[in-house]
Homo-oligomer: 345 residues x 2
DNA sequence: TTGAAAGCGCTAACAA
DNA sequence: TTGTTAGCGCTTTCAA
């Protein structure tokens, strides 16, 4: 481009000034302007001052799109999740952004509602833009989807333990150890008749959580009674249905573990309706520690699913790939849970 | 650029193919490829077929960054909010994305934590990128900030009623009518001694909510007792402090309105601690209808702050500006609340 | 119906 | 320490 013709259209204040307008006004080349801004090459103090003055006089803002086209860096990452409205994900998003933001990255958030086609469309869109990296919490995405991204040189980190992918970095909660700890807590109180209300089978983290429950039972030599495991939805109503079912057993449990807090809150509803004292007659334990967990009556004893930590870790892994600080084989990071005792158990 | 040299580096599968690679393979010009994709010019069926074949053979994905540089459209908008972790904003975000997504826009979400400097930095970043539009929920941004964006031709819609800006479109909740309705509900039960626990003074929507409370009192001819209005934080602890203060009055209220649900939940805590029957001895009303509102005991009677609707409306206003379907003067849209009776009042 | 050519606004070899 | 020049990969006049 020719600086003079650029000035004709932009310098007169008609449109946004470009780097050549700044260069012209400062009496240096565009290269020097670029370098005073990026610091990637030494610039004399005299030039620096003139450039800075020109910039503020013109109100110049570098156009990132143009820079991206040259550098192949957009400083944008994508977070692809089922639904930002699910209270777990905002925490993750925040953790991610708290590490990516300071590094200069903006994050676009995409809701898939668990829809496979939507997921694929977003993934394609990300290579098209392109973004510099993606974090995806996918319930059913096949490895093939990731190939497209990886082939395009876009790092991916997978959030959660739900796909049978082994091609990308992965960050997940230690669900299994988490429920095992909760189960042992109950067992240590001498309670052995412990029910488990699971969410939808094969979807989400339920399987691992059930596994932890079984682990603890086994390690304490308590027989696993299949009647004590019921499967429902990851919702409050699911908890109502699940506990109702358990309570109708000839020998009902003295405690229930729930696959998530929503289920536990539904269970609390049933206990209240039936006049059951919690935790004296029935202990209830949740999972996740959503905001509401501390607000219900009695406050829920639960396993903290550290979304913020997960988000941060995703950010760190992604960043190390983007900057190529790390170029090794795939990493798999398991974030520990924390058991928190309130009043329901 | 020269198609042949392009092929040398990219056609052999080394990097992502470009539009000229597709053109070469299809035996047409890049122009024709561009037009088959955009549909902005008629293309013969024969060309179309060849182009499409070449695209899928090469796995070509158009580079949006390059397109953006030419067209000055990034198909990206920003949502700038205090904190995505605050349960109100995910709903707004979802509403926004549900209207912008289908139109081809991705949204970046930025957390300011209410920090003025962070807000300004993000705003600057948005003109630099640039994004096609921004929705901002700012607690203290001055109109001057918006000027930068508006000068750069980037439409802004303001979420909420918190800045004294009159330069951009604006979408807000009808807080005043909402609390007025809640107050009247109490008044209609013959309760006249009604307290109000406000959040931080001059920040957020508290002022309008107090105004609605006063409106209703006045219209029923009930004297406004300043002792009955206490100011605290928008938190659960704020509710604890606020109600404690009110209950220590010589003539304590029979009902309290709270500036948000978190405050109301704190108030519930106090009532429970003191053995006060809710709602018989003390009626409690919240505002917002967060997820937890229906989960506490007793479930909260509250005013629904329709975040999703707000988000959608922001999206519609923004879109109409971006596409220039609407070029008129600033619009101000007030979204009605809905009063929802549960058990706490 | 098609193509050639000129940029969009930057960055980065390369040369001085 | 600085500037010249050649693109990044598209879109869109303009001319055919």
């Amino acid at each position: 481009m020719n600086g003079t013709s650029g000035t004709v259209t932009r310098g007169r204040g008609r449109l946004r000034p470009g780097i050549t307008d700044v260069a012209d006004l400062a009496g240096v080349s565009a290269t020097t302007v670029s370098h005073t801004l990026s610091g990637r090459r030494a610039v004399s103090e005299a030039s620096r001052v003139k450039v800075l003055a020109a910039i503020s006089e013109l109100g110049y803002r570098p156009n990132q799109t143009a820079a991206s086209l040259r550098t192949q860096r957009t400083y944008t990452v994508a977070l692809i999740i089922p639904d930002i409205t699910n209270p777990y994900y905002p925490t993750v998003a925040r953790g991610l952004q708290d590490v990516l933001g300071p590094a200069g990255y903006l994050s676009v958030i995409c809701n898939t509602d668990g829809d496979h086609d939507v997921e694929r469309d977003y993934l394609e869109q990300m290579v098209s833009r392109p973004v510099d990296g993606v974090v995806i919490a996918a319930f059913r995405t096949e490895p093939a989807q990731f190939k497209t991204l990886l082939d395009a040189g876009i790092p991916v980190v997978m959030l959660g333990d739900t796909s049978d992918t082994d091609v990308s970095d992965q960050v997940m909660t230690d669900d299994r150890t988490g429920t095992a700890e909760a189960t042992r807590y109950l067992l240590d109180q001498g309670i052995t008749r412990i029910g488990f209300i699971d969410g939808e089978f094969g979807v989400g983290p339920g399987d691992q959580r059930v596994a932890g429950y079984h682990d603890a039972l086994l390690s304490y030599g308590v027989r696993i009674d299949p009647d004590l495991l019921v499967t429902t939805d990851y919702t409050r109503q699911g908890g109502v249905d699940g506990l109702t079912c358990l309570l109708n057993l000839p020998d009902p449990p003295r405690a229930v573990l729930c696959a998530n807090d929503l289920i536990a809150i539904g269970a609390l509803d049933v206990a209240r309706d039936r006049g059951l004292q919690v935790p004296r007659q029935l202990a209830i334990v949740g999972f996740d520690d959503i905001e509401a967990a501390a607000m219900v009556t009695p406050p829920l004893t639960t396993v903290v699913n550290p979304g913020y930590e997960l988000g941060r870790t995703c950010g760190q892994l992604l960043l190390s790939r983007i900057t190529e600080d790390f170029t090794g084989p795939r990493r798999q990071i398991v974030i520990p849970t924390r058991f928190i005792t309130r009043s329901s158990a």
